[in-house]
């Protein structure tokens, strides 16, 4: 005879409502873990989309994601001539904000040379960029459809293709355009500013700059070896793909991860306090029944079992509902949420431990109940 389950079944509505409330709290804990994994996945997705073996950036910088980097546009040709480099491409990265349907949308504009590394790998709709100007490939998350036109800088761009699964570290969607268009967008001054610069006799600003050059190497050439050769050029810095991954996952998102970890810790403590209070309240509601059980001879293990089992059932149901909610609704959330089975299992373990710990308050109250209370009318 399972007294815990019988008691829950007797007050099923209250138990379900309690679990629903708790599940929302636990779903936030699950979401935090998912956001952390999502952030890492986003960072790596961008790198995987570019599929570079080495990154050539401005000397003394950790560009182009961790720090700003600006190098001459002809660097690509120098890189391409190095033994072991199969292909190389220049890229630019720039954040812009557009208005779409009355809503502000943040985008990252990636400039690349069609036919060279740095562009989108696969398209889910439309075609690749074929004209040298004013064509765009947008990530599906932007909501832009093939044939749609958006205004960027001083020009209108037409969406000719749609890719998917590529966002920036901050979760912004990416749009691809030709390197030349991206350079104009990034470095060209507004006409009034150009006229002012000309009036004061300044030389025309150089616009053939890129943020980085990415190179793919022959499979039999170690990236570190090629990187070492390029590092002899004092005006450039070189990162292998492994170093870039490490930089993004360990350094760039480290602070955000620490913050997420802090929130998770606080939420876990809050959950523990709430579970403790719920278990305590459930126990206090049963004082007379507990006293009766003690009076008719129930040993402590029966009383403790009653409370612990209820706390565990509450934790298990709430966690299951919370995790299921996150699983089904993660697509509607603004940030990518990646649910890793090992994370979910670890969180489940933490919730079970929290339930056991939180029930000590209720267990203590129950063990102190005087069986004589059952005799009080």
């Amino acid at each position: 005879m399972n007294l815990a389950w019988r008691d829950i079944r007797h007050k099923l509505g209250r138990f379900v409502l309690t679990c629903l409330g708790l599940s929302l709290l636990l779903s936030v804990v699950v979401m935090m873990a998912g956001i952390y994994r999502g952030q890492t996945a986003d960072a790596l997705a961008l790198l995987r989309a570019i599929r570079a073996d080495i990154w050539i950036v401005e000397s003394g910088t950790l560009g182009p994601f961790a720090e700003a980097s600006s190098i001459p546009g002809d660097t690509r040709e120098m890189v391409a001539r190095i033994n072991g480099v199969v292909e190389a491409g220049s890229i630019t990265m720039q954040n812009v904000q557009i208005e779409r349907g009355g809503r502000k949308v943040r985008l990252q504009v990636a400039g690349y040379e069609p036919g060279r590394p740095g562009g989108p790998i696969h398209l889910v709709a439309g075609r690749a960029i074929t004209r040298s100007h004013y064509e765009l490939i947008a990530d599906r998350q932007t909501g832009l459809a093939v044939g749609e036109t958006i205004h960027l800088g001083r020009n209108d761009f037409t969406v000719v293709g749609v890719t998917s699964g590529v966002v920036t570290l901050s979760g912004d969607s990416i749009v691809y355009m030709t390197l030349r268009d991206a350079q104009q967008l990034q470095f060209d001054l507004a006409p009034s500013a150009t006229r002012r610069e000309a009036a004061r006799g300044a030389q025309r600003t150089q616009t053939d700059l890129v943020n980085a050059v990415v190179a793919r190497l022959s499979p039999d050439v170690p990236p570190d070896e090629v990187a070492e050769i390029m590092r002899r050029w004092k005006h450039l810095a070189v990162l292998t793909d492994g170093e870039q991954q490490l930089l993004l996952t360990r350094t760039v998102i480290e602070r955000a991860s620490r913050q997420l970890g802090l929130f998770m810790g606080i939420l876990t403590v809050v959950s523990a306090v709430i579970i403790a209070l719920i278990v305590y309240t459930l126990t206090m509601d049963k004082i007379r029944e507990i006293a009766t059980l003690k009076l008719i001879g129930a040993p402590d293990k029966v009383i403790v079992g009653l409370i612990l089992q209820q706390a565990l059932m509450m934790g298990v149901f709430s966690f299951w509902i919370g995790a299921t909610l996150v699983y089904f609704f993660k697509g509607w959330l603004p940030r990518a949420i990646v649910m890793v089975p090992s994370d979910i299992a670890s969180l489940f373990g933490v919730v079970i431990a929290v339930c056991l710990l939180a029930s000590t308050l209720g267990v203590r109250a129950a063990l102190r109940v005087d069986p004589g209370r059952a005799l009080v009318g």
Partner: protein, 237 residues
């Protein structure tokens, strides 16, 4: 465990005292109380509020610890200025059945399981526990309500289920605290008849605390308590 012989009373209390508080706030709830109740006897504990009736019942039921005295229950000396058994709850489960003023049924169990819970605690298998519980409910003429939850039972039915629970482990000692307080005179009479029947058939000792003058004539003996003292050795009725 010592066995009770025919000549020995089932409940034997000698010089039992209990006080609450110390110094000026000390209240003597029991003062050297001595009683004995034999098998098949139904005795009443009477007295005004605060006279020590419930304290005596709780002490015999091992719910509170006396300060001094001696007590033998069902042939086993359980108290001699200190408890001689550590597992008092087990002792209650084995020897004592409680009947409360309010039925105190567990609200989340139906009538059968409210009785079966005692068998469950005693380690009896589920099927046997249910069968024996149903037999008890039938015996107490409430078997037709075996699947009803406590909230669906009338006062009399609930009290009979509570009595069935008290009898589940065939206790030799039945302690009843105002067992008829919540019942009308007809049902009170039925309950007292039932207690008498149990005392006779199961050779049990029944001790009931009561204020209910309608049932005074149902007791074999009545002990009057006043300020923690027994007025007499038990009036024979």
């Amino acid at each position: 465990m010592a066995a009770n012989t025919p000549s020995q009373p089932l409940v034997e209390v000698k010089g039992l005292s209990k006080h609450f508080g110390e110094g000026e706030s000390r209240v003597d709830a029991l003062r050297k109380v001595t009683i004995s109740v034999g098998a098949g006897e139904v005795v009443g504990l009477l007295g005004p509020s605060g006279s020590g009736k419930s304290t005596l019942l709780n002490a015999i039921g091992s719910i509170i610890e006396p300060n001094e005295g001696w007590m033998r229950l069902d042939g086993e000396v359980v108290y001699d200025n200190r408890w001689l058994r550590r597992d008092l709850r087990r002792m209650r489960l084995e020897k004592i059945g409680f009947i409360f003023q309010t039925h105190n049924l567990l609200p989340f169990l139906d009538a059968t399981d409210n009785v079966a819970v005692v068998f469950h605690l005693a380690g009896v298998a589920r099927e046997e526990a249910v069968e024996r519980s149903e037999q008890l409910l039938d015996y107490l003429q409430v078997g037709h309500r075996k699947h009803a939850m406590p909230s669906q039972l009338s006062g009399g039915e609930a009290q009979r289920v509570a009595i069935a629970r008290a009898l589940a482990n065939r206790p030799r000692i039945i302690l009843a605290d105002e067992p008829t307080a919540a019942l009308d005179s007809t049902r009170a009479g039925i309950v007292m008849d039932l207690l008498r029947k149990l005392a006779v058939e199961q050779r049990a000792a029944v001790i009931a605390v009561t204020h209910d003058d309608k049932i005074f004539n149902r007791f074999d003996r009545i002990f009057h308590l006043r300020d923690g003292r027994l007025d007499d050795e038990g009036d024979q009725l």
